[in-house]
Symmetry: C2
Subunit: 237 residues, 2 copies
């Protein structure tokens, strides 16, 4: 009962989210052009085979992410790309298979390179005791995984994600907070670690970890920047 094909409705998520995803992907892929008017509510209801309520909730969801805008009489319009909120985890998930994966990851790295070193610096200064303890826990587990005979890739990704995510949470800056989730989403959907990552990167993580724990923001920033340079090497320009 669980395993059957995604097929149509009754699958995983709620109905309006599925409809929203379908529409979003048509927008993201360009199948629905910017500034164009999408079909009317009743047409879309028929097309997707859902009620107007469900469809309207889907439209509201996409409006909230900057993809659509509705006005009475004129219809629902695809807003221009400049207003799409690419810093929304759900939207990022929906990008899967839309654009070139390497290019997408490379662009993300372009942002990460600017933000994460500063986040590490902030975390070194502002992390609470609880957060430092948690970071310590996570790092210990990463060490265990790196030292193990067989490299557990899934576990590594899990704790690597937690490690970087926690750093954003520890900045004490609300604007850095969302990057933890964005990074988590990227790790889960687009960035595929190779088995060599664990052994090669653990020392880089140790430098970041130590600097944050020592409250040395400059060192944390540098260690993070160095780490990201290593990561960058895996992607084409």
């Amino acid at each position: 009962m669980i395993g059957d094909f995604d097929s149509i409705a009754g699958s995983k998520r709620s109905l309006h989210v599925q409809v929203a995803r379908e529409i979003a992907r048509k927008i993201l892929s360009g199948e629905l052009a910017q500034n164009s008017i999408i079909p009317s509510e009743i047409d879309l209801c028929e097309q997707f085979g859902v009620s107007r309520t469900a469809l309207r909730e889907a439209v509201k969801l996409l409006t909230s992410k900057g993809l659509l805008k509705s006005k009475p009489k004129v219809g629902t319009k695809v807003v221009e790309r400049a207003y799409w909120n690419f810093l929304d985890s759900q939207l990022i998930e929906w990008m899967d298979g839309i654009s070139d994966n390497d290019e997408f990851c490379s662009q993300f790295l372009g942002l990460r390179g600017a933000i994460e070193p500063e986040a590490c610096a902030l975390a070194a200064r502002h992390a609470t005791i609880e957060q430092r303890m948690k970071l310590s826990e996570i790092f210990d587990k990463m060490c265990d995984i790196a030292k193990a005979d067989v490299f557990d890739q899934e576990q590594w990704t899990k704790f690597d994600t937690q490690f970087h995510s926690l750093i954003f949470n520890a900045t004490g800056n609300v604007f850095y907070l969302p990057f933890g989730n964005i990074l988590t989403t990227m790790f889960a959907n687009f960035i595929h670690h190779t088995s060599e990552d664990g052994s090669t990167c653990i020392e880089e993580h140790r430098k970041i970890y130590s600097a944050i724990m020592a409250g040395n923001s400059e060192k944390a920033r540098a260690a993070s920047a160095a780490h990201l340079l290593t990561v960058k090497d895996k992607y084409p320009a």
Copy 2:
């Protein structure tokens, strides 16, 4: 017909957005605690004097921004802060009056300082001809305003916003795109320019502008960083 006590009606925006804003502000201010269950749909409908349709659309909107999560039987829960999407323009608008303004702006500057110099560097390399022309237009107008006898603060803010916003659009990186809107929102709602800004900052903007037009990414990055240091001086630690 109904609810003439009217908690919300009579304002400008659509009903479900108004309801969403009300709930969002209660969450953001902590009046609705994290992980707590908010009243049931029917209770909230009564409380706000709106239909279930409007209320559910409001809840969907807030769910999309990471503030709420609904499950049958258990109810609708306030998600923990770490998942709130503070990089959403609408959410940022709703923050007005919630937290200390100076602190909020200061934190924003903490992010801006990390991102904008890199955005300028990217723009110098990737801006299209059209974008360079547009940037030129905008900068010319900023010069006019700065040179004028009476400083038109409103106009200055308008073009200053456009200037910085366009730079993010010109990076050619989808993850930098949303910062244009975020910055626009911050300028419109939180950051209040003083009349001296025009005269003092126009030369700094010229350096950024020139570097981008010349395609000199290193110079653009440095000029932006210098500009942000000047801006930073206005805010307390």
